[in-house]
């Protein structure tokens, strides 16, 4: 995740949101758990996961205003940023759960498997199933690690064209092919007759606008909506094609991997981030969900009415912020921009990697897919939200980039298994007798 707490980053933020490809300078302690998109022929795309970095107000502590105000601003903004992440995460989960419950395609087990989980689970033998799911997990995690290392190597040797081409190819696949598949299944479920010309037009428009929004410029809300949609699509593919037990073990393993990759000094993601910082370059803004609302200096009209509201709300914060930013020498460009504007407004916002969205939705989607119990789904949902809240709280306390997966996925897994096995029989018995607790 991209932190937005240095002035270089603020300079980047303003461009980062409007157009993702513009050169943005990451802040000093960014972290991304980047997993790369795959080759198109493999029908999969790896998510970017969990680098979670602190919300903007962190740097306000360096300002000359008294500490208490900073901290309170931090907390006030902290709560707001938590909600700014709750809403897209909730939306993504709602889309996935609604699809799982209505379109049966994504819960049908097919003989097709991803090549990353080559061992087929035999439902008859517990021991063999466990062993094969562990092996599948090892294969999958090694693929992710290898991909990340390849990415770091490519980045070190400045093969930017290759990386960008790879990213564009994978979002093409998501926006066109997977959404075509999704639309087809929805039509089949609701028995809607659709002719090909109309379908081609719909998919074409959807895909092209998506590519433009994600990789170039676009309205913030539209970009956020597209990122949510592609995360949901990817999560649905995972839910369909990962074998039962392997999916749970993979969820656990990937949160451990996330923890290691983001926090340990030798982690590939850390190396990636440090390299990017040395070169003062951006890190793939197209794969990050950003909640910030940014002003473009010199823009005559504020196309974002949210930004206008935010400006009114964040007056005080901005002044303190400008104080900090103008003090730093490194952001020459930033100062150029700030000097002209008195009431320049910027809500730092917070960013979350798309991989986090995907894996949260995979967890909740699998909870919804297995069994008809809605209580389990709801429990996992609340657990993930609380995990996200705790992660953001830790972020505000430790003020360094943190992985967003471990806490939420741990809570989610614990609540899934315990609700499914313990709470479900209890609530079912209570409902049968109509006892209320």
């Amino acid at each position: 995740m991209n932190t937005s707490d240095s002035e270089e980053d603020s300079y980047n933020e303003r461009s980062a949101l409007v157009q993702s490809e513009s050169p943005t300078i990451p802040s000093y302690n960014q972290d991304h758990d980047m997993s790369l998109p795959q080759e198109t022929d493999t029908k999969r795309r790896r998510p970017v996961s969990s680098g979670l970095s602190e919300p903007g107000p962190v740097e306000r502590e360096q300002a000359s205003t008294p500490d208490g105000e900073e901290e309170e601003l931090t907390l006030k903004y902290g709560a707001k940023h938590v909600i700014m992440l709750f809403i897209p995460v909730t939306l993504c989960m709602v889309v996935v759960v609604a699809t799982i419950k209505s379109v049966s395609f994504y819960t049908e087990k097919s003989s097709q498997r991803l090549i990353y989980t080559p061992f087929e689970e035999d439902p008859n033998s517990v021991g063999q199933r466990l062993l094969y799911s562990l092996l599948n997990t090892i294969v999958m995690i090694s693929v992710i690690v290898v991909m990340t290392i390849i990415l770091v190597v490519l980045y070190k040797y400045r093969c930017y064209k290759f990386i960008h081409g790879w990213l564009i190819l994978s979002s093409l696949m998501l926006l066109f092919w997977f959404s075509f598949m999704y639309l087809g299944e929805v039509f089949k479920t609701y028995n809607v007759a659709m002719d090909y010309p109309t379908l081609v037009m719909i998919i074409w428009n959807f895909g092209v606008v998506g590519m433009i929004c994600i990789h170039w410029k676009g309205p913030l809300r539209l970009q956020q909506a597209y990122l949510i949609v592609i995360s949901a699509l990817m999560a649905l593919i995972f839910i369909k094609y990962l074998p039962e037990w392997s999916a749970w073990v993979i969820l656990g393993a990937i949160s451990i991997y996330d923890l290691i990759a983001v926090l340990s000094p030798k982690g590939p993601l850390r190396m990636l981030v440090e390299t990017a910082q040395e070169r003062n370059e951006p890190i793939f803004p197209a794969l990050i969900y950003s909640s910030a609302m940014v002003w473009m200096v010199g823009m005559a009209d504020s196309s974002n009415t949210d930004s206008a509201d935010d400006r009114r709300r964040n007056e005080g914060g901005a002044r303190a912020q400008e104080g900090v930013e103008s003090e730093d020498d490194a952001a020459q460009g930033g100062r150029r921009r700030y000097s002209a504007e008195e009431d320049l407004e910027e809500d730092r916002g917070v960013k979350l990697g798309l991989g986090d969205f995907i894996f949260y939705s995979v967890l909740v989607g699998k909870a919804a897919a297995t069994g008809g119990d809605w209580n389990t789904t709801l429990a996992c949902f609340v657990a993930i939200l609380i995990g996200l809240c705790l992660t953001l709280l830790l972020l505000a306390i430790f003020k360094k980039a943190l992985p967003a997966l471990p806490i939420s996925i741990t809570f989610g897994l614990v609540f899934y298994f315990s609700t499914d096995n313990l709470v479900r029989p209890f609530m079912d018995s209570l409902a049968a007798h109509q006892y209320y607790i």
Binding site: N375, V382, T419, V423, A431, I437
Partner: protein
Amino acid sequence: MTLAVFFGCAFIAFGPSFALFVFTIAKDPLRVIILIAGAFFWLLSLLLSSLVWFIAIKASNSQDHSLQRGLLIFGVFFSVLLQEVFRFAYYRLLRKANEGLAAISDDDSSAISVRQMAYVAGLGFGIMSGAFSMINILSDSLGPGTVGIFGDSQYYFITAALMTLALTLLHTFWGVVFFEGCEKSRWWVIAAVVGLHLLVAGLSLLNPLYEGSLPPVYGIMLLMGVWAFFSSGGSLNSLNALCTRRKAEAESS
């Protein structure tokens, strides 16, 4: 077993809490977080009580139906007690957080008062409790079926929805009163809340004799509403002022 039943029961059970959420909580991020954390604490209490019940079930003879029923009743009361324990734990957590917020703010006052937190926490408990009671029933009501075909009551859905509504509001009122009691260290208030919760759970054991369970529960709910209103600082004067001000505004406009 139609869409009408589904929507009717959903609105009965969740209408007021949804309205409360939209009008009082949705706009303030801190309150939303406190609400969801409250829901989480209720969930934790349910988890632990289900664990205890599950162990008891597994350790006992599964063929003995009266024993199973006795264990279920024990599970009900144990769960009620555990919910109140977790309500107290949540109170302590919120107090600490509030002190933290107050300490770091400019004018030594936090953004949210304990009374507001009490209301939000109570509502969080209520919404989660209601959701867990009602959601599976709602999803079943969408599908085909006949209610009470084996001789059970045909009013299952509507009574479930009404009971859920009562419990949601009760949790909200209990939250307000409980926190107030903790603040003022009035332990009899806490004991009263716990006792009333046990009473309501006990009344629900009378189901399907709905005359025995629903009207008393609603009576208790109204009493609790009045108690919560006065405990959180309301008074007859403020009610009066509300009515007369509205009348004055209506007259002046």
